[in-house]
Amino acid sequence: MPSPEDLQRRIEDAIPGARADVKDLTGGGDHFRATVVAPGFADLSRIEQHRQVYAVFGSEIGGPIHALSLETRAE
């Protein structure tokens, strides 16, 4: 079962300069909310920012990670 710390570390490792704050919304280890701030988001649309974060987890989204709610920004 993934922990918020796992998700945070994986996002920060995968996206250059990213800082992530991840919360387990239900305590059940499958519904998370992440706020991700990364300098590389500056030139990306919201859709592309979210896609980059989802891409870190691939097919785990919808599987072990049932839901990952996102808020992304550049600064």
Partner: protein, 137 residues
């Protein structure tokens, strides 16, 4: 004959409807909190939209995500383009940009904060693959 009728049906639906929401359940009976929240934002703007329930057939979700390169449900399309899922639609609603993204006038009385979604309705889960066109409702 198409190799992939489900994918073609989805592409056609996206092309044929200016505003179309792929969701779990129906606008009247959303089956997931994220879908409920997204429909609530659309309803608050008085938007007419088509809605497709992805639950009756897992291939809908699979093919939709392959087309859109977006892993989660709901997914809102406007004029053939993916606008986003629940988070982005809610953000756009709260910043006042959603009406513009949808090409509709924002009602003056629209609340500033995203409307709270009703609790997802309980089953029965109906098997219904037909597009619900809200304009004819």
């Amino acid at each position: 004959m198409s190799d992939n009728p489900v994918r073609e049906a989805i592409q056609e639906a996206i092309a044929d409807h200016e505003i179309i929401l792929f969701m779990k359940g129906t606008p009247e009976r959303p089956m997931c909190g994220f879908s409920a929240r997204t429909t609530a934002a659309l309803e608050a703007l008085g938007t007419e939209y088509a809605a497709v329930d992805v639950l009756p057939d897992p291939r809908i979700r699979q093919e939709l995500s392959a087309i859109s390169n977006w892993p989660t449900i709901p997914q809102l399309f406007v004029k053939g383009e993916l606008v986003g899922g629940c988070d982005i639609v809610t953000e756009l609603y709260e910043s006042g940009e959603l009406a513009q993204a949808l090409g509709v006038e924002a009602p003056e009385e629209a609340p500033q904060h995203a409307p709270a979604a009703a609790e997802p309705g309980a089953p029965p889960l109906t098997i219904d693959n037909n597009l619900v066109d809200r304009r004819s409702a």
